[in-house]
Amino acid sequence: MMAPGDAERGTDRLIAALAADVPPIARRYIGRRIALGIAGGGVVSIGLVFALFGARPDFPQAMYGFSFWMKWAYTISLGLIAVAATVRLARPTGGSLRMFWPLALPILLLAALAIEEMARTPMRDWLSMWLGGSWNRCPWRVLLLAVPIFLGLLWAFRKLAPTDLRAAGAAAGLAAGAWAATIYCLHCDEFAAVFVLTWYTLGIVLAAALGALLGPRVLRW
């Protein structure tokens, strides 16, 4: 053990070393870094969609349809809310879990749309509407596509300072899941609101749960 005098001299030397490297920091640094992490991971996820699943066959025309934009409006709004929460939780002063409340809005809107769609559909078709052709694959694929984005966020967090690691992990997982779902729309040609509400949401929730589980381990600094 060092004598107190040595330790204090060590602190002075440390300060001199740290002060030798003071690059300017951009405003909105956290937001930029998180956006960069998501974009980097997102490029990999887009590559994975095309390589593993292929674009939906009707891709250009689908962009003129309602269901494509309904899905994107849902996943992108979840993604933006999740990013806002992630930015807040990347600061040491953190935030409260109330930040997740705005998620209720897109979920409720989509639920209203699902109910309206089902009201227009004969009851015997409800099951096939709900399960579509890919219910058992959709959540897992969203989860898979979320992995590169989550890794991108982990990279971003190396310069960030979350103190509530579980909440920060959940927010990062949620963001990764929502943007992965957005990317999965390039392949998926399901169109029912109730399908998206159930299976997309399930994939996103799985990603968020995994993030919350891993957060305390992988976000420590």
Partner: protein
């Protein structure tokens, strides 16, 4: 010597703009603050300098997470608090640690707490009766009896108004940050 929130914050923002001298001045000024912060919260003495150094490194490498528009000392003590919790976790000791607002008061940086919220603006969100009761008893230092007389309401009414008003304020502050 003691530095004020405003002084520390000015150094911090200058450092974020790339001013190495200001950054060094900040780190030097933080050393005594951090030493007393950790000394107050730890039993033994031996780890304190380690913790101070770890916290200085964290302040340096994580400085991008400080938002120039927010109180600096709240950010500082949030980092220090995390370093302390992490240190105790590694040594498998568990002790309750106050939240950052309580730390700011203990360390003499109440200004950083109060800077966040303007009292008048906060009180204006309450009912006039509650706002007046809190202002009389907590800001102007009247007794409950005096406050009741001046507002021409009962003493229990004053007490209830203060209690409900403070509860509403606390709820709002938690939502605010």
């Amino acid at each position: 010597m003691r530095h004020s929130e405003a002084e520390l914050r000015a150094w911090m923002t200058a450092g974020l703009d790339g001013d190495a001298a200001a950054h060094a001045a900040l780190l030097r000024a933080l050393v005594p603050l951090l030493r007393s912060f950790f000394r107050r919260r730890m039993r033994g003495d031996e780890d304190i300098e380690d913790l101070v150094q770890e916290t200085l490194i964290a302040i340096h490498t994580k400085r991008g997470t400080y938002d120039r528009d927010r109180p600096f000392t709240a950010w500082l003590y949030a980092v220090a608090r995390y370093r302390l919790i992490d240190h105790l976790r590694r040594r498998r000791v568990s002790v309750p640690i106050e939240d950052v607002e309580a730390i700011l008061v203990t360390e003499g940086f109440e200004e950083a707490v109060s800077a966040r919220v303007d009292v008048d603006r906060l009180l204006s969100g309450l009912s006039p009766k509650q706002a007046r009761a809190i202002r009389d008893t907590h800001l102007d230092g009247l007794s409950v009896a005096e406050a009741a007389d001046s507002a021409r309401i009962g003493q229990s009414d004053v007490k209830v108004s203060v209690h409900r008003g403070l509860k509403a304020l606390a709820a709002r502050l938690r939502g605010h940050e």
